[in-house]
């Protein structure tokens, strides 16, 4: 019998019941909760007269709707101008109070984007099964946890039973060999992977990311990669535990301590795929071949290296591909044959659960230091992923670098990644964004999103158009 993959190991040690019909009952160690996908789940519990199975397995934080402007933010929940957003954040507070669930409220220093706060606080640990009513839950797989997004019915199901009914996924290995060029980051790696396998390439799979490039990444970089596993169609992304993981977790507020720490680390050492593990599919990329990436279309797979040329639909044989390219170019207001570096930008957004961690902010600050945002840029936002990151960045003086260059320094939250608060694009505006989705309307009605790394976004803010950050 061949060895087990990391996913196989995590699955087996959380298996409560294997059923004859092929489904299985899987135990969930941690549920992360935010304000958008949980109100109906709590309402369902109330209507059925049920209580949470295990209160201490749940953790909540509001992030999607919270305002990021200091003035609006300073009023707390009551200060949220949008009444519908305010009700949703208030409802989370009410539900957590009624069901005794730990919540970092809107103006708690530890508040932030749920996928940033979880690992930062040690609420997310290696070896856990983690779910959240949010598809970017795949982020937590960077710590060697089995983590994926679920719908609201399943949020209620986990609250009530601590389990999910699941079918085992297939195993995919994406290996990135060699080394990255200077100026090429984790974001470029994951965009290149999505460009290679497509947005449905990982459907039905848990993707493990490995290889020399991934091993050399910091935890921040690994989280960026796993975060976008869902953009390749895979609900879960995974990276095996190594010294980098253990060092990252050590000393976090909710991480184990003392003797339990030793015991935990010993258990985590086994969280890797066996040498003879069998993967259903393996994809190999070479780090040295990866250039800074920019998406030009309305799906993350519509991506090119920064020196690329916008594709010509008339040269495509496949009718479906031709139509979707035409539609994307029309929506994006771009022409076939144009250079990526000729795309003029209106806004820049540095933030989101993909790229709002300290390392991302440092990379962006290094690019804009001593420079000015181009006069043609209407707005450039930097939104830290959490209050702790904001504090750290301010201690390092990064906020001063950003504001001196003409970027706005905001309060933590999801912000313009999905524009549920007031940070959004106007119709027709092009945005260099460090977020994860370039879908139609994602950052605002008619808005045009280009996904890039923090360094690329920062360079674009200064130049007013895309530039190759390797030459910065």
């Amino acid at each position: 019998m061949s060895g087990q993959t990391l996913y196989d190991k995590l699955w087996h040690c959380h298996l409560v019941e294997q059923r004859e019909d092929g489904t299985a009952l899987i135990y969930i160690d941690r549920q992360l909760i935010h304000e958008v996908t949980s109100p109906q789940a709590f309402e369902g519990l109330r209507l059925a007269g049920r209580q949470p199975w295990r209160v201490d397995a749940n953790f909540a934080v509001p992030d999607h709707n919270v305002p990021t402007e200091r003035v609006e933010r300073s009023g707390g929940v009551a200060g949220i101008t949008d009444t519908v957003s305010r009700l949703q954040v208030q409802t989370l507070d009410d539900n957590c109070r009624d069901f005794h669930i730990l919540e970092f409220q809107i103006n708690d220093t530890r508040q932030g984007i749920v996928h940033v706060v979880g690992p930062e606080q040690g609420v997310t640990l290696p070896g856990m099964t983690i779910v959240c009513g949010d598809s970017h839950t795949s982020t937590h797989g960077a710590l060697g946890a089995l983590a994926h997004g679920i719908g609201t019915s399943e949020v209620e199901h986990v609250l009530a039973t601590q389990c999910l009914v699941q079918q085992k996924m297939k195993n995919m290995l994406v290996r990135v060999d060699g080394q990255l060029q200077t100026g090429v980051t984790a974001k470029d790696v994951v965009l290149a992977i999505i460009g290679e396998i497509g947005t449905a390439g990982g459907t039905g799979y848990a993707i493990e990311f490995g290889g020399e490039v991934v091993r050399a990444l910091s935890m921040e970089g690994r989280m960026t990669i796993c975060n976008m596993a869902i953009e390749a169609g895979a609900r879960a992304g995974l990276i095996s535990v190594d010294e980098t993981t253990v060092e990252y977790v050590k000393g976090r507020p909710y991480a184990p301590r003392g003797q339990q720490w030793e015991q935990a680390v010993a258990a985590w050492r086994d969280l890797h795929s066996d040498a003879d593990a069998r993967f259903d599919r393996t994809v190999v990329l070479h780090g040295a071949d990866i250039k800074p990436q920019v998406t030009w279309g309305t799906s993350p797979e519509m991506v090119l290296p920064v020196d690329g040329i916008i594709p010509d639909p008339s040269s495509m044989d496949n009718a479906a591909q031709r139509e979707s390219t035409e539609r994307a170019l029309h929506y994006m207001g771009l022409k076939a044959g144009m250079s990526i570096t000729d795309i003029r930008l209106d806004q820049v957004f540095i933030g989101s659960c993909t790229n709002s961690r300290i390392e991302d902010l440092r990379a962006a600050a290094a690019v804009v230091k001593g420079k000015k945002v181009a006069a043609t840029i209407k707005r450039a936002l930097v939104v830290p992923g959490s209050g702790m990151i904001k504090q750290q960045a301010e201690a390092e003086g990064l906020d001063k670098i950003f504001t001196a260059a003409g970027l706005e320094w905001r309060e933590p939250g999801c912000s313009m990644c999905l524009a549920m608060n007031s940070d959004k694009l106007g119709a027709g505006e092009h945005c260099a964004s460090t977020s994860n989705r370039n879908f139609e309307g994602r950052q605002g009605f008619g808005g045009r999103t280009h996904l890039v790394s923090p360094a690329m976004a920062a360079a674009a803010a200064v130049a007013g158009h895309f530039v190759d950050v390797r030459n910065w």
Binding site: T161, Y254, R437
Partner: protein, 215 residues
Amino acid sequence: MKSFSVLQGVAAPMDRANVDTDLIIPKQFLKSIKRSGFGPNLFDEVRYLDQGEPGQDCSARPLNMDFPLNQKRYQGAGVLLARENFGCGSSREHAPWALEDFGLRCIIAPSFADIFYNNCFKNGVLPIVLDAQVVDRLFVEMYASPGYELKIDLARQVVQTPSGEQISFKVDAFRKHCLLNGLDDIALTLESADAIRAYEQRWRQQSPWLFDVIG
């Protein structure tokens, strides 16, 4: 949950690949704390010519008449014909809520995104995967004959076309059982409460750091 047994309904097209859940129901409508009322905002950005906001009276908004669901021949549609990777992106269950609320209780496509596919079954919506060539043929037949209806029989796992052709589809046994009977799957899982407790006790001994730390 509403049960699903046999559905006969007009088929309508959503003729593009990679339809994401942002397109199915845009984020501004996710601020609702209810499960119902999302139908009027289904496909909001391509269905109307103006920008939608929560709480609007949608009956007064300008319609995009190029969008099939606004056209007379597709009124009252119950089945949506779609393309590859339908429902990709965000995990928002508001997507199947909006489809169901609109009256679309069956989606036929060559493939679906995982989370969306799973969410459908929790809401009385049946996603059916058929071979891409078969879906292509259904599109052609539908475009050729206004009022084109499909009959979906979940118990027999068959899609029937107006010509009487029967196309069988796969669905996993547990999901079929729950959907046919409109079952509350939390109650079903709680039938295994003893097994969950036994597992939890073992797991707590093995990994004590996962328990009693937060809350």
